[in-house]
Symmetry: none
Subunit: 406 residues, 2 copies
């Protein structure tokens, strides 16, 4: 496939240099116009981003493929130069990453819901009346104390929120190809764990055994007297950024999901900054010993998901105001981009390509784009590309790719 | 793979017509801004190129993939519509092409250095004190006279320049997967030729035998009393432009490397024009009997490699001034493009996409680009593409691709 050929070339020509790449990701940055016809990025006052794009070059990027709305996993894999369609980071693993659970290779993770069962063992409420998170914690504590997994297997149970939780199995030769036990409707019993491949038969039986014990312990805890499992999954085995390009990457991110995704691609992940405003200080603290700085800002996406156009503008302006401090560290290359669009109007991720810029004063051809915005960037010198091509271009500007062929 | 699928379709729909495509390649054309903020192509006075782009359409092209700096081989393979990541033209073959050695399929070529060996046979200078080219010629003449290859093998030795030369073996069942004998450092003996695959075992022994004889002959020629070999290589087996598209291509180029690359893809390669200015006359001379005219201008790249911004402008203006004469031949389609960028600021090939234009008055949709320049073209109607897609579009405008599917 084309991307494999490219990947093999990129790896072959990659070389380690001391030059530094600041890779600033504004989650869900792309938007749609508000009442005055401008997107949040177009409407926000961003003198520093505008300077970067004026001195640099820009384009728009499809995180996965045209028309595809990416989740956080694929969006970030694209940013990190992976072909996101080939690396499945499933919901179980994302749930684990999302709560900061230190999932390891070989672990099998699944999301669970507490549910309500009637006297015949049939599901009457798939969400157990949306019990409060505090109740969830009490029940998880009880289960941790009372449910013993079979010999040779470790069991981890974690509260997520309300009726939602995470179950992780650790042990030798576990398989994750197991169908959901959630029947997706009421009036029927939870399904037994069904292996979808021979390598998961034994694990499916272990799951059934554990679910039986859990149901036994929960017997008197109506409405949360059962559990439903879905999204069985294991960490994908993907090559790290170190292996691929010889990078020494570090992640400066507040939110567990992105810290987890960074860990997945081999980044060092130090303590999170205490706030958005603390991001530059955290960056500075880790400046030595690294050459790739993934800085993640969550709040642009949050504002988009909340449909809050104004707050999205404010977050963008806050980040813009932080830029001069970050640039004082003198990175050779700066990239500002996003993992996907989250238009406030849609209150959700979307398929719209994301704007991105590369600033690299000694090697960039400035493209006459004067302001950092979706439509300005769509006329930029980088054109419209797959997001996975952004990182290799940043590497090139940083002198980290040597010539291919004589 | 994407490119294989496309290739199969292009081949299927290709048809031979009498229409002519002038394919003008300005080597290393792409650049970065000079002191006044303009690139050489933007700064040069190019009324004829500007007319072509105004009447035609334009875009920017990645010779290999975004971020990849191509050598001359991959750049030209992209121009000729090959997927350059799949065809390896190694250093030995390029060296042969570069000096115009008539290398044939099955030949094994390697570059060599004359080197200095001490009394124990250890390398003391990997470049033999950079002996003058004339000395190199003398030694090569001596070796040609005195070194006999084993039965069934022909040996060719050629001077390149200074301490550098080319060794070619011709015979049945030779293998080229042989590691360098150059140890890349002094104080150790040259390495024996090591086969990297079983098909090259016998050839490696032949190489060792020849190197022993050469060292014997050179014994009293200190400082050039040994040789080091690297870049063992053979001609890649690639389909010709004739096979792929039914073209009858001809190469009008002064420099051996590009003449060799043209031969590699099946072009007829007549005597080179005596100078850049003689290019139109040479083109005219070969106008009959061909439908694809690869005209190669080396001096844009040379000026870029020398860091000479002004000379790059002058070369571009010289080519521009030659265009009217070339257009008098009335080609139906004109393409002006490049194999890679060579910014004078970087004095080297770079990864920046190259500008390109297609002029074809009866079929082109003019894209409102008014001048031929990197940034103008980046807003052109062809967008940003892989360079290998340029040739098929030229074929289409020349009526050489029929409808696909009913």
């Amino acid at each position: 496939m084309g991307w494999e050929l490219e990947e093999s070339i990129y790896r072959r020509i990659a070389t380690t240099t001391p030059t530094r790449i600041l890779y600033l990701v504004l989650d869900g940055l792309g938007g749609l116009p508000g009442p005055d016809g401008r997107t949040p990025l177009e409407a926000a006052a961003t003198p520093n981003l505008d300077r970067l794009v004026r001195e640099g070059c820009s384009g728009i990027f499809d995180p996965v493929a045209p028309g595809v709305t990416p989740g956080s996993g694929p969006g970030h894999l694209g940013l990190f130069g992976y072909e996101p369609m080939t690396v499945e980071v499933g919901r179980g693993v994302l749930a684990a990453l999302g709560i900061g659970f230190p999932i390891r290779k070989g672990d099998v993770a699944a999301r669970f819901n507490f549910c309500t069962l009637d006297g015949e063992g049939r599901v009457t409420d798939r969400r157990a009346g949306r019990i409060p998170t505090e109740k969830n914690r009490e029940l998880v504590a009880l289960l941790r104390e009372r449910v013993r997994p079979p010999e040779g297997v470790e069991l981890f149970l974690e509260t997520v929120a309300e009726h939602r939780g995470l179950l992780v199995l650790r042990g030798e030769d576990l398989g994750h190809r197991i169908a959901d036990t959630d029947p997706q409707r009421t009036g029927v019993a939870p399904l037994p764990a069904k292996a979808l491949a021979p390598d998961s038969e034994r694990t499916a039986r272990i799951v059934d055994e554990i679910v039986a014990k859990i149901t036994e312990v929960l017997r008197d805890h109506h409405p949360a007297n059962g559990i439903l499992l879905r999204g069985f999954d294991t960490l994908p085995d993907i090559p790290s950024l170190q292996e691929r390009f010889g990078l020494r990457p570090v992640c400066i991110a507040q939110y567990p999901m992105y810290r987890g995704l960074a860990r997945l691609v081999g980044m060092e992940v130090p303590e999170p900054p205490a706030s958005l405003e603390a991001l530059p200080a955290s960056l500075k603290e880790h400046w030595d010993g690294h050459d790739f700085f993934f800085c993640h800002v969550k709040y642009t996406d949050k504002a988009g998901e909340d449909g809050d156009f104004g707050r999205k503008c404010e977050v963008i302006e806050t980040v813009d105001a932080m830029l001069p401090t970050m640039l004082e560290l003198r990175p050779e290359v700066v990239v500002v981009a996003a993992d996907h669009s989250t238009p406030a109007r849609l209150k959700a991720h979307s398929w719209h390509p994301v704007p991105g810029l590369i600033w690299a004063p000694s090697t960039v051809l400035p493209d006459r784009v004067e302001a950092f915005g979706e439509r300005e960037c769509s006329r930029g010198g980088l054109g419209r590309q797959y997001l996975r091509h952004l990182l290799p271009q940043a590497l090139a500007h940083a002198g980290k790719l040597v010539k291919f062929g004589a």
